[in-house]
Structure formats: C-alpha cells, structure tokens
C-alpha cells in the first residue's frame, strides 16, 4: 500500500470521526429529560460513594447489586430510602445524611423517568435490530 493511500485513508477516517463526534454530542444525545438541581446533587452523591461499582444504570456498572434504572417505580421510594439509610447484608450503610438521601432518591427518580430497563416488550426484526417503540 502506498504512503499516499495510507494517509488518504487515515485522514478520511479522522474527518468522518470528528463529524460523527459533533453529531453525537449534539443531536444524538438531545433529550427531553432535564435534570433538577436535587437530581444533580444526587448524581454527585452517587458518584462520591462509587455506587456504580456494585449497581447498574441502564445495564451499565457493577454486578454485585441490582440495576437501579427503574427501582423507584418498581419498588417505591420508601423501599429505596430504607435500603440507603440502613444498608443490607450485602450493601454497607454509607451513613448518608437526610439531604443526601433525598438527593439520591431524586436522581434515581430522574433516571427512572428516562427509560425502561430491561425492556421486556421488545420486538425483534429478522435483520437483528430491536423495535423499542412498545412501552412496557
């Protein structure tokens, strides 16, 4: 392969990557779900305590505990608060204060409103894609 062709392939790919990145940052990730100030605080609590080491959001994260994407709607806020405030045999009590617990619950509520995971009502196509339009 000639050097000129190698450079052509390389810079074409780089240009395509930069354009693609721009669209991912803008139109590809625009969403109607805005995060409240309380949810933003909760996100910080979630990160500071490294919750992602054990839990998942949208199936991304650790495997020790359950996915938390829809924990608020499926289990209820009181159930979630009880877990956070007391810990369990598997989960340590992180000794969060009340504002931190409130913020964390607000963050989980925000995540809950954005998606269903796992989506059990999927329609599969013969060419391997998934139709997500069906609500659970």
């Amino acid at each position: 392969m000639r050097l000129q062709n190698k450079r052509l392939f390389f810079f074409t790919l780089v240009a395509a990557y930069l354009s693609y990145t721009f669209f991912v940052y803008t139109s590809g990730t625009e969403t109607a779900f805005k995060m409240s100030a309380a949810a933003q605080e909760g996100k910080k609590v979630f990160q500071d305590n490294n919750c992602i080491a054990c839990h998942q959001l949208y199936g991304l994260g650790g495997y020790m505990g359950p996915d938390l994407t829809n924990v608020i709607s499926s289990r209820g806020e009181l159930y979630v608060r009880s877990f956070i405030e007391n810990g369990t045999a598997k989960m340590p009590d992180f000794e969060l204060n009340k504002p931190e617990v409130d913020a964390l619950v607000a963050y989980l509520g925000y995540v809950d409103s954005s998606a269903n995971f796992p989506n059990r009502s999927v329609e599969l196509t013969w060419y391997g894609t998934v139709n997500n339009s069906t609500a659970e």
Binding site: M35, Q40, N50, L60, D67
Partner: protein
C-alpha cells in the same frame, strides 16, 4: 544508562501482581460480601480494574520505549524517565484515594478527576519522545502506525472521558453516559493499538520476516481496526435512550469485524504450521493463544453487537466475559509473549506449566461467565427478582470464583518466575551500556 522501557515493564508486572490479588479479593467478596470489610467490594473492584489497566498500559508503553531504545532511535531520554516517574506517582496517589474511599465515581476511571491532569501531562511527554524519535524512520512498518495512532487516540479519548465535568454533559444522563462509553470504547481501542503493535513486533522478531509489517493486508487490517476504534462502541449503550442512528452505526460497523474473523479461519492452517515451526519458543505459544482468544472474543463481540442479542445479554456476565476475555486472553497473552521474548526467558518448563494453568482456567472462567450471563439475562427478562436470580446462579458463581483463583495462581506463578529471572541479572538488565 537506565532503560525506560524496562522500568515500564517492571511497573506493569508489579501492577498485574497487585491486580490479581485485588481481583481474587473481589471474586471472594462477590460470594462472601463480609470478607475483609476494610477493603469492601466497592473499593476492591476499582483497585483491581485500575491496576489491570495499568498492567496493560505500562507494558504497552514499555514495548514502545524498548523498540526506540533497542533501535537507537530514542530522543529526549530524560522526558521518558519523567513520564515513568509521573506514571508511578499518579498511580500511587490513585490507589491511595481508593483505599481512603475518595472516588470520582465513574465506572473504570473511578478516581477523582484531578488525577487526569498528571496522566494527560505525562502522555504529552510520551508523545514528544515517540514522535521526535520515529520522525527519521522511513517507510513505517504497520506497528509504528499502530503505536502512533494509540498514543494520539488515547490523549483525545481520555480528554473526552473527562468532559462530564462540564455542565453541558453532566446535566443530561443520556448525553453523559453516551459520551462516556463513546470515549471508553475508543480508549480501549487505543491501548489495543499499543498492545497489538507490540505483538506484531514480536512476531517479526521471532519469524525474522519483515515483509508482513509492510504488507497490504497488515494495513487493511489496521484500517479495519481503526474504523472499529472510532465507530464501534455503541453496543454498550443500546439501552440508553440516545438517538437510534448511534446504535445502528455501531451495528453496521461491527459487522466489518467479520472480515477479521473470516481471515483468521482462512489462515488457520498457516497458523498451525507456524506453530509447529516455533513450538519451542514459549513467547510464540502465548502469541498463538492470543490468536485463539481473538477468534473467540471477536465472535462474542460480534454476537453482542447484534441488538436483538444484546437486549438479552446487556448488563449480564456475558459483558464481563467479553471484557475479561479481551484483557486477559488477548492483551495479557501478547504482553507476556513480549516480555518472554524481550528478556529471552524462553526455555523454562515452569513457563509452560503456567501457560496451561492460565489458559485452561481462563477457558472455564470465560464459559462460566457466558453461561451465568445467558441464564441471568433470560431470568431477568422473565421478570424474576435480582436476588432470586443470584441465588439460583450461585453454583455458576462458585465455579467462576474457583477458576478465577486458579487463573490468578497461574499468573502469579508466572510473575514469580519473571521476578526470579530478573533478579539473577539485576541490576545489569535494567541498565544499558553507553557506546
């Protein structure tokens, strides 16, 4: 004159030893959560992951420096030493932050974001040393292209992984997670470029054939790899509600990997005859093992890139099998081959025993993860509760833990051998005579 490449390799080996210890601890805690609560699972997991990543990066970087040093190309040697010093000091600070429970809370880069500054600064030093050294080389072999790409892309994607500190990204969980996994996917590709480049360099040295690294097929495979590095990451975020075209692009691009898998099958007979030719070289054994793991993990990666499959496997241990299979089966096999070849530690029955312990236990480990992942995915889709699923899969997890302990033991035995061999010629093997 001290050899920067070997400093990085020794650092990498040390990181792997520690990663194995914390990995074994995390595996035990996965079944017995009360075990050693001072280093609970939420600390043990990032310790294991960060040290495993340090092993891959450190040895990949070491391979590049070794190439520059052995070919008398290296310039600004003192910047290389500064790079190493910065790597080690930052690493120690990150480990200390984990022990203290101070986190940034981002999966895989779980340290506070302030530590990204010295990492990026040291990477600039690496870039200066590399590009100023190789600029005089005419007609770059493919591994120089790969290393150059890996160095630049790591810098860009690591910056991208830190964009979450800006409100535009952090105020939308969809945007933040999408960009996070976009950067991670490409970042893994960047270290693969460093490691696969080292593998090709080792094969060139073992076979004494320089033609492959200049061949058209080597560059076609490099460009297929680069395309996947840029665009094939979104199978991680099919479940995140971002625009559909992001997932569709990844799905289409992932199918280009069929070309690589097809080529492995097509060249399998040649691989076997080469294996017979170099069977006495233990470095080649590890390269051959990495070839088999490439085949298996690529097949798995293609499968989980199909959205209709991914919907069942995402968030299960199938994903862990994909990650562990790639980092241990491919990256670590190539790096061990590089170390064996580079130091000339090629004639030990001990290494052969370790080779079989590692690969057989990794096989069980990998199959266990896939099996438990499939069952977990099916159970969760059927609406079973998380705790019920985990109890039902406990036999699988026990097997996972046992094979993981054997895997760690195999690697630790190999590292013990490395340490022994290294000390025999210490300190001569860390220094190079100046002409």
């Amino acid at each position: 004159m001290i050899r920067t490449g070997r400093l990085f390799i020794i650092t990498g080996i040390t990181s792997l030893a520690l990663a194995l210890v914390f990995g074994a601890l995390a595996a035990i805690q996965f079944i017995y959560p009360d075990f050693l609560p001072e280093i609970a699972f939420y600390k043990a997991r990032p310790l294991h992951v960060s040290l495993a990543v340090a092993w891959i990066f450190s040895c990949g970087i070491g391979a590049v420096y070794n190439y520059l040093e052995l070919n008398n190309l290296i310039r600004f040697r003192y910047l290389g030493l500064l790079h190493w010093l910065s790597f080690v000091v930052t690493g120690i600070l990150i480990i200390s932050s984990y022990f203290q429970g101070t986190f940034g809370g981002r999966e895989y880069w779980e340290f506070p974001p302030v530590f990204s500054i010295p990492i990026l600064a040291s990477w600039i030093l690496f870039g200066v040393v590399f590009f100023s050294s190789v600029i005089r080389v005419k007609n770059w072999p493919v591994y120089l292209w790969m290393w150059a790409t890996g160095i630049v892309i790591f810098f860009v994607t690591f910056l991208e992984a830190n964009l979450w500190i800006f409100d535009y990204f952090s105020n939308s969980v969809v945007r933040e997670l999408t960009v996070q996994w976009k950067s991670y996917g490409s970042l893994v590709g960047s270290w693969n470029m460093l490691v696969y480049g080292a593998g090709l360099y080792v094969m060139e040295k073992i076979s004494e054939d320089k033609s492959y690294a200049q061949s058209g097929i080597a560059f076609i495979l490099y460009f297929v790899g680069l395309t996947n590095l840029f665009f094939n990451w979104a199978h991680h975020i099919y479940a995140v509600p971002s625009s559909g075209w992001i997932g569709t692009t990844a799905y289409i691009i992932s199918m280009t990997e069929l070309f690589i898998i097809g080529r492995i099958i097509w060249k399998w007979k040649n691989t076997l005859s080469t294996a017979k030719k170099f069977a006495n070289r233990q470095a080649y054994l590890f390269i051959l093992a990495s070839d088999i793991w490439v085949f298996l993990n690529l097949a798995l990666a293609i499968l989980i890139s199909i959205p209709a499959v991914n919907v069942y496997t995402h968030g299960t241990h199938v994903t862990v099998a994909h990650a562990m299979g790639s980092t241990i089966g491919i990256n670590s096999m190539i790096l061990v081959a590089f170390i064996l070849h580079h130091f000339g530690w090629n004639n030990s029955g001990w290494v052969r025993v370790c080779f079989w312990i590692i690969n057989l236990s990794l096989g069980v480990f990998w199959i266990t993860l896939i099996g438990s992942g499939i069952l977990k995915g099916a159970a969760l889709m059927n609406g079973e509760s998380f705790s019920a699923v985990m109890i039902n899969l406990s036999a699988w997890f026990n097997l996972f833990m046992i094979s993981g302990v054997f895997l760690a033991a195999g690697f630790l035995a190999l590292l013990f051998h490395f340490l022994f061999e290294f000390l025999i010629d210490f300190p001569e093997n860390l220094f190079r005579k100046t002409e």
